[in-house]
Symmetry: C2
Subunit: 118 residues, 2 copies
Amino acid sequence: MTARETNPNFMNGVPELLILKLLQKEEMYGYEIVQALRNRTDAVIAVGEGVVYPVLHSLERDKALKSRRKIVNGRSRIYYMITPAGLRRFADLSETWTNLAVAIQQMLTGAQYDKAFS
Amino acid sequence: MTARETNPNFMNGVPELLILKLLQKEEMYGYEIVQALRNRTDAVIAVGEGVVYPVLHSLERDKALKSRRKIVNGRSRIYYMITPAGLRRFADLSETWTNLAVAIQQMLTGAQYDKAFS
DNA sequence: AATTATACCTAGTGATTCAAGGTATATGTC
DNA sequence: GACATATACCTTGAATCACTAGGTATAATT
């Protein structure tokens, strides 16, 4: 058996990344996030509430977000805002994503430089 | 309940995409593919054999690939080559991936055009 | 009065990746 | 000859995570 060194579930974590990105600009509530993602990506990214709410809860559990309840128009909303830990997490995820996207793009466009020389 | 219309597991299928890409240029065998992915992406994408072999089998089951056994240096290898169906599948996956990557990149770089007017 | 939109939630399923094994032969090293 | 490493195939089981499909409740619209 050779050494393994793979990446832990390298394709996941994008909803988390995008949510953290949105919350960097302003506090938002779950329902709002669901629609923001849909609208701002032309429905290319259309994650439902079943994805967003659990991610929000898990991020809050990890202290990457905090929340406060707020009544607007007689409706109870839970606004989430990002913490310093959340910012760090965003930076990590963001870098990981970028590396991945670049690597895939290079593969697809066929960038040839086998680097057998190092 | 509102209409849902999400995308089925929108983050997956990248190993499949990359394998199809590699096989577009030349026939390859599983072990070779594992290392090619690692080498050509500087280990950013390091999927193990436990990912590659099942994907190859499933693609062959779907007639996207066909295979032939070949003995080289007394070693038995199974070479895979892409079929017309595989080319179509690649085109689909490739487009899906590109759309996704563009959407995410726009979100991350903060392209503002809320398109509340349509 | 009934439907739609807002706003929260979770349980269960399914797809897929990852870790960790297993088999067998060839090659290189001590 | 003995041993480790590299090549080359494979699968099982756990974990992750997104998706489906529900559920509750209030406000606004028809």
